[in-house]
């Protein structure tokens, strides 16, 4: 059987404590009472109440203060305020401090029972919501990591075998055989990439990005992204050019995910560029915002595709110059990352002429949002 609900009554009047205890004793509740706020708060940890009745007017710390302290201890405990002088103002004030309901003195046994039942129902819902959220989180994380491992393992084995064959380890291959194996290899590559991106989509908690905010040196980050993409650019004989002011103030953000964004956008520009052309990256520093734009003179995006390119799994009709197929997730992820930074990512493009992606990171918002944390130091 389920544990009986625990109810704590904090009231300086003995008669109120006793009558509440008597009225509620008929139901299957565990009940404890405290004569003042201080001792009541002390009991909370041990007694673990589901519901607390708090008298507003008591000697020592007031009922309002008790409510406030309870909010810091556990927001899922349901608090009901008992008061002899119920006014709208005190009610509003009590609600503001986390009270769920109001019990005006004098009250009848039925009123007390009703409010108790409602309060406990509320507590049950609060706990259920938390449990569900946690369960969802666990399922999401485990599901993704298990499924991705199970999907990837056989692909790794297949791919590793193809690598060995293509390296001629199992004997020289005919050109036609080699070409077909190459094609299989690139299909598997694309699939592995899709799984990786999908894992990233589901496992990156975009709300947590903000918690990792710190000053980020954007030109440094662009430099890092360039370094990582240089081989790809050389492969395609695409030149990377950066225009950057002499000194750029850092912007608050999450370095790891921002790098992801720049890798994605610059990588795309390389992928869709003509051989021998140039991808230009420019950083513009403003008081209120910092803009990074990446322009290419490649295939461009069809007008009707533009509104959808930031959607999950959307792939434009334009063929990449490398023939590789993307997962259709890169820009969707980048968009979410930039949104978590309260910035924006936009595109201007013309078919056959090229595209320009612009990431705008706000200095204002990021400064304000972490200003409080900064002050605490």
């Amino acid at each position: 059987m389920k544990d009986p609900n625990a109810i704590l009554i904090i009231d300086d009047e003995e008669v109120v404590r006793d009558s509440c205890t008597r009225i509620l004793a008929k139901q299957n509740y565990k009940i404890q009472a405290a004569p003042d706020g201080e001792s009541g708060l002390k009991m909370v940890e041990e007694f673990k109440p589901d519901l607390i009745y708090v008298d507003l007017k008591m000697p020592g710390i007031s009922g309002m203060d008790v409510l406030e302290r309870l909010q810091q201890i556990d927001t899922t405990i349901v608090n009901v305020v008992i008061t002899g002088y119920a006014t709208i103002d005190t009610a509003v004030e009590a609600m503001k401090r986390g009270a769920y309901d109001f019990l005006p003195k004098p009250f009848s046994a039925d009123e007390l029972r009703l409010i108790t039942r409602r309060g406990l129902e509320k507590r049950k819902l609060l706990l259920e919501a938390i449990a569900l959220r946690r369960e969802k989180e666990i399922i999401r994380e485990n599901f993704t990591s298990i499924v991705s491992h199970e999907l990837k393992s056989p692909l790794f084995a297949a791919q590793q075998t193809l690598y060995a064959f293509l390296a001629g380890v199992a004997g020289e291959l005919q050109p036609a055989q080699k070409e077909m194996l190459e094609r299989i290899r690139s299909r598997i590559d694309a699939m592995l990439q899709l799984i990786n991106t999908w894992v990233e989509m589901t496992s990156v908690d975009f709300r947590q990005i903000r918690e990792r905010f710190k000053p980020v040196d954007i030109p440094g980050l662009i430099f890092k992204a360039r370094e990582m993409l240089q081989a790809k650019a050389d492969d395609r004989n695409v030149q990377l050019v950066t225009h950057c002011p002499f000194s750029v103030e850092p912007v608050y953000g999450d370095e790891e995910t921002l790098l992801e964004v720049f890798l994605n956008i610059i990588g795309n520009a390389i992928k869709y560029s003509e051989t021998g052309s140039c991808v230009s990256i420019s950083i513009e520093d403003g008081n209120r915002e910092l803009r990074v734009s990446v322009s290419d003179t490649g295939v461009g995006i069809e007008k009707e595709d533009i509104p959808f390119i930031f959607n999950d799994f959307y792939r434009g009709k334009a063929q990449s110059k490398t023939g590789e197929l993307g997962s259709g997730l890169g820009l969707a992820i980048s968009n979410r990352i930039i949104q978590a930074h309260e910035g924006s990512i936009t595109v201007e493009s013309e078919l056959g002429k090229g595209s320009k992606f612009t990431v705008v990171l706000s200095r204002e918002v990021t400064k304000n949002s972490i200003g409080d944390a900064g002050k605490a130091h």
């Binding site: 990591s145 491992h149 393992s153 590793q160 075998t161 690598y163 380890v169």
Partner: protein, 140 residues
């Protein structure tokens, strides 16, 4: 590099075969075991010049536990460990190419699945060579 003995610990026999093929072609002798437990056992009875370790085995990143255990075993000396893992397999632990945290993951080399055969041979050669030079230094 003839005669150098490599122990490969990986729970996927098909993956092992593909890597083994490449290493054997380069005249290494490769022994494969398919669980951490068999890996410890093999190291107790046999002698090896290099261990190739899969990161994701069993219920999770058991390869990390294996690597840490091996590093603590004094009797293994400075047996080099090469870890092979799928990129971002275990979400958020580490990224290939990151500076490795020696205390958290004590391995000598780190490669990403699937491994290009030439990259694999180069890394294996490098690790075996570094061990040889260290040992000859000790001998002096």
């Amino acid at each position: 590099m003839e005669g150098k003995r490599i122990l490969m610990v990986d729970d996927d026999p098909d993956y092992v075969d593909a890597v083994k093929m490449v290493l054997e072609k380069a005249d290494y002798s490769v022994e494969a075991v398919y669980s951490p437990r068999d890996g410890y056992r093999a190291l107790e009875t046999g002698t090896y010049d290099l261990v190739i370790l899969d990161c994701m085995m069993g219920r999770g990143a058991e390869g990390i536990i294996v690597a840490r255990k091996l590093r603590k075993k004094k009797e293994l000396g400075n047996l080099p460990v090469l870890m092979i893992t799928g990129i971002r397999d275990q979400t958020g632990f580490f990224f290939v190419g990151d500076p490795k945290d020696e205390a958290f993951l004590p391995v000598d080399g780190f490669l990403e699945k699937p491994v290009d055969p030439s990259v694999l041979l180069k890394e294996v050669g490098k690790l075996l060579h570094s061990r040889k030079t260290e040992e000859s230094k000790k001998g002096e």
